[in-house]
Every structure is written in C-alpha cells, then in structure tokens.
Symmetry: C2
Subunit: 324 residues, 2 copies
Amino acid sequence: MMKVIVDAYGGDNAPKEIVIGALKALSEREGFSIILTGDKGKLTALIDELSDQVPEDRLEIFDAPDVITCDMPPVEAVRKMRNSSLVKGLNLLNTDPDAKAFVSAGSTGAVLTAATLLVKRKPGIVRAGLAPVLPTVKGGRVILIDCGANSECKPEMLLNFAELGADMAKKYLGIPEPKIGLLSNGTEDTKGTDLTREAFKLIKGTELNFVGNIEAREILSGDIDVVVSDGFSGNIALKACEGTALAFMTLLKDGIMGGGIRAKIGYLLLKPVLKQIKKTMDYNAYGGAVFAGLEKTVIKAHGSSKAKSIAAAVLQAVDLNAEG
Amino acid sequence: MMKVIVDAYGGDNAPKEIVIGALKALSEREGFSIILTGDKGKLTALIDELSDQVPEDRLEIFDAPDVITCDMPPVEAVRKMRNSSLVKGLNLLNTDPDAKAFVSAGSTGAVLTAATLLVKRKPGIVRAGLAPVLPTVKGGRVILIDCGANSECKPEMLLNFAELGADMAKKYLGIPEPKIGLLSNGTEDTKGTDLTREAFKLIKGTELNFVGNIEAREILSGDIDVVVSDGFSGNIALKACEGTALAFMTLLKDGIMGGGIRAKIGYLLLKPVLKQIKKTMDYNAYGGAVFAGLEKTVIKAHGSSKAKSIAAAVLQAVDLNAEG
C-alpha cells in the first residue's frame, strides 16, 4: 500500500490541523496509508483526543521530536535539525520503498532546501521547480512552474519545467496534450529576455504542445494548461494574482459596508455567488504546490493550511502516484 | 502657455476618440493648449463635425499624414515613417520650447522606441522606464516602474527607476516622502536575484524612503507608493493584476447569470458597489503610463483608450508639468 508521509509539525496550525487533515484524507479515500512525522508522544495523545475511529492499520507515527521554526535560516535548519519532522520525514521518503510522497506546510525555504538536499532528482532534470495549481475562469486548472524554487534560471531549467509541468497536467489534471505557454512580456516570439528566448527555442524543439509566449494576463484565462517561468517571475505572477484577488475582496467588503441597506441586502442575495467565487479562487483548497522534478513526490502546502487543505494535499499526492 | 502634443492617429479608436478626448481636456482645465498631430485635412474636418465650440486659440493641428500601424516592427516604423503623427509629434516636442508633453495611445513598442530614439534623457538617467499608476485598496495610487520598456536591466537602472518613481509620486500624487519598495520574491533582504540584490544596496544608499523588498502581493495594498522592478517582471506583475481583475469580473458575471432570480436581484442592488469597484480598478481612467526619465513628459495611453482616458492622460501631462 502506498504511503504518504505528512510533516505533522510544519505550518502555522501544526500539529492539530495537520493531524485532522491527515485523518480526513484517510476517511475520504481508501488505498493508501499515512506516516505522520513529529513528536511521537504528543502526536499519540493528540490523535487519541481527536478521534476514536482512527484506522490504525493506515496511520503510523514516526518519531521526530525537533521542530524547525520559520525564523531559522533554511540551510542551517536542515543541516542542524536532523531530528526534525521535516528532515526525518524526507529521509524516510528516501529509504522506505512504499513511501511515495511527502507533504509539509512548513516554511517554503526549509521545505525546498531540505527536499533539494535530501531527495534525488529524476534523471535528466537539472533542477526541481515549485508548481502550484491555480483555478481558471473556465472552471479548469492551470499549473504554474516554477513559482519560487529557483530565482535565477538557465534555459535548460525552463525546458525541464515545461516537461515536468506537462507530465503533471497529464497525470494530475487528466489533460492528454496540455498546452504549454512560456511566461513573457508579450506574445511575439521575439519578446522576453535572453533567458526566455533561449528557452523558447528549446521548448519549441520538443514534442510538447507549445503555444509560445504568453502574457501574465492569460494565466487564469483557461486557455493554457501549463505556464512555464523562472522562479522569480513566477513568484511575482502568482503573488500578483493573489494580491489582486485579495484587493477585489477587500473593495467588495468595503463597498458593501459603506453602501447602506441596499448594498447589504444585495450582498445577502448575491452571497452564494460570492462564496462560490471565493471557493473557486482559493487554490489552497485544491492541494499544495508540487516540488516537481524529484524522484518522489514532495508537496508544499500553504503555511496557513487548515485541515481541509492538508487533506487536499494528501489526496493530491495520492493522485500523482496513482498507477496509470 | 504650456503645450501638450497629442498623437491623434495612435490607438484603436483614433482619430475620433483622441480628438474628443483632447477637446474634453481643454474644456475641463484652463492654462494649457493642445497640438494634435495627424492628417491636417481629416482632423480639421473631424473637429468641425464634432464641435462648434472649439477654443481655437488653444488647439493647433500639426500636419503628419503617415500612420504607424500596430503590425509594423517598431524600429522600422520609427525609422521609415518620418511623417507619422508619432515621429513628427516627438520631433516637435524636442524643438518647441513651450511643448512640455506628448501623449499617444499608439502601439507601446513604437511609442517607446520613438521616444527613446528621439527624446533626450534627463541628466544621469541611464534608461527611461514605463510607469503606470495603479489604484490601491486604500483609495490611493501606486506607481509601478518599469513595466515593460527594459526587459533586461542593470542595477543602476533600477536605482534610476526608484528616483524617477519617487519624483513622480511627489509631483503627481502629492506624496512628500513616497515609500519605495523593490519588487522581489520575498521580503527578506537576501531574497531575489543578483540584479535585485545589487539594486537593493544602491537604493538603500540613497536618501529615498526605501522600505526594502516587497512581494507582488503588496502592490495594490496601499502600503507602498512606488514599486521598482525590471521591465520584464514589472510587466508580468501588471498583467497578472489585470488578468486577475478580469477573471474576477468574469466569474462574477457568470455566477450572476447562472444564479437565478435571486442572484440577479442581488446584482441589481449591489450594482452601485460593483460599478464603483470597476471604476476604482480601471486604472486607464486615471491617465496613461508615464515614460519616465526623459527631458520632457511622454505618456503612453492604453491602446484601447476612449475619449475619457485620453483626456485623463492630457491632464496628467499638465499636472506633471505644473509649476511646483
């Protein structure tokens, strides 16, 4: 049975929400088991307290008493905190042949550093890329790779990201021939930087369904399945989308609060629609960002993840490792 | 009297909306005059047709019969179309001491290329940067510089953008000590690329009110007045914001259409609030993007500008040249 390792001590709401999320994932789907990494005594007590219906044959605890906090410099944290839930979890991922995936809501820097140092890359992959899955206006999803693992990239890395993103879109989104776009500052072939122009040629030379350069305006349009970028620009694109969505919600809230009784009734009537939009836009609900390019699946869930997002990330890990 | 030159043949809605916009700006504010560049015969006829209250002492036409279209490669267009409304307008900007600003809704590539080739830079400025002014959730504005004029930048250029943005925020937004943020993939000082880390040091060494690295999530927050970036990343940030705002509007529309009578009534009641949000978010209504760093003001209005945006861009040009 496939095992998913879950870092019970990573994230703002660890360990409680992580454990609830793990239990939730187990109750929602059969065919896999979970290993929680963290302080064994505390986790055992927490699980006892949370549920009397724990599927004991599907839930293990792997003792890892140290906790990496967000203020530790990533490299130092990974090197020194060998008994942390993060480092022990990733080492276990390496050594246990049934362990296929690792999920953590810990600090992005620490998770990426630890995964880079401890988990082997797939053959032919120069660097792994962080790939969140975002909603589109057409109701589908789009993969954005890389979103922050590699600030400075070489053209070969962007080629890798295109291949990894395409693979993920096939396996996880079920799109047979995913459309790949290269994030640039214009759609013409000549637009971009030396990096993107070189990467353009490399991706164009593959069998991938490459649609060429795309602008950031198109990311959420639903016309593209995989958006390829260096980690710096990808991070900016992702966070600009997040910031604008947040700005919109803030303006709406302020407008309703200041709009008198008419606006308030309007809001009540429109509430189901607005809730649905909020749900659609909340990409954390679909799982985490995949650190794509490693021999085994590593998923970084949002730091503020609650049980629902953790459960989604665990099931995402299961889906990514389902037998074709 | 200060003169603003307006490219009457630039943009999707040229020349009609441009001319209406110019007339609108004249009627809204005293103390400046406009020179329209374009086909003199056609423009004269158009103006006659549009209004019988043209303030003739404040409106001139400068004959420029050639039209640069969007499909022409910018450099070639600028080199060959010497009698175009764009090239003649910018040459006039150079030679007429009363001409302080030039406004065009023509293709970004052509306008930036022509301005770069034809208009002198301010002393000490390595490169000019494109600087749109965006709305923030707090009701203020934020300047984003550079948004696409320079795909590849050197640290000194980002320093220039910080200085130019600060100057614009003081003069145009009336902020005495504008807060300057450097767009990066994290807020820590060490985040970013070699470029941003070098630029960080340079900007930190100035008298500017530099708040350090900011994430794209903060662009619209209202906590920052000037966001400094290379043109590639700035363009991605700008367009990601645009795309998300559009996605939001599309989801809202689709939700209302599919939400039955309840949602439709809710929408009608909430309409003033939504209209206000749309107005707030529509940054083109505030004017155009300033091509900052040149000896005279060059403003690029959105290609789809209608009269209102053109008028706003003309008045923005007037404001930027107001005697301190």
